[in-house]
Symmetry: C2
DNA sequence: TTGATATATTCCTATGTGGGAATATACTAG
DNA sequence: CTAGTATATTCCCACATAGGAATATATCAA
């Protein structure tokens, strides 16, 4: 099999940095039309339309027509699977802080013990 | 340009479901050797080794030799960029609960109003 | 109508994929 | 050393990309 399609799920869709930028832009504020996104991203318009197409297919963004423009908005609940998955690992970097502190304290104790042993000789 | 390499960053590395499974397995517990992962995943050994190679290159897992086996462990802090990015959208689904409730209440009001209007005719 | 603007689509190509199969490498036991 | 076990690597292929260029489609304005 080849690599999964970018449109196969959210994880594949957001693997592309430009698409994450688009999501970021749509998160901060209201709807935006394509021209606005083109300007902010500094990408050619067809590239932006294609990225929007991918995000549309996985449901991360939604469109509606407004005259000759198309207004895109974020559909944030479609990002939730990513959040749910990554959240399981949150404890690791919280615990990590604690364990780094612990290790440091252990080392300090060992050094102190060594010093005491050395001074006895 | 073609699609970015799976080894180019964490986002691309974890886009593959099997690799997320591997991460999940390594998250629940201690180090595991390849054979163990092969058994749990039900994949051919070369496939597992290749997935581990990708995760190694982006730093999500680390290996050390133990005799003829290689023990893999999770390197959770490398997942943090994903967490940091997705966390920005957390507010959306918290707010969403509130807004779903609101919408439901609005609809109920509208239905009630329509019923009242109908009964007046 | 015609011309301009906004957006999407199509065609192209270089590239990297994931799985299968086979093989290479490394280590261990006897 | 030899056989066996554990793991990685190589070669294959069908496939989907992302960007570029060109074009199609839709809507507006005059």
């Amino acid at each position: 099999m080849a690599r999964a399609a970018t449109t196969s799920d959210v994880f594949n869709a957001i693997a592309e940095p430009r698409r994450r930028e688009i999501v970021d832009l749509l998160a901060r504020g209201a709807e935006r039309d394509v021209t606005e996104l083109v300007r902010k991203l500094g990408l050619p318009q067809p590239a932006v339309s294609k990225h929007l197409g991918v995000l549309r297919k996985v449901g991360v963004v939604a469109v509606h027509k407004a005259g000759q423009r198309r207004l895109y908005r974020l559909n944030p609940q479609e990002l939730k699977p990513v959040h749910d998955w990554i959240q399981h690992f949150e404890r690791f970097w919280t615990d990590q802080l604690a364990s780094i502190k612990e290790v440091a304290e252990q080392k300090a104790k060992q050094l102190a013990a060594r010093d005491r042993a050395a001074s006895k000789q």
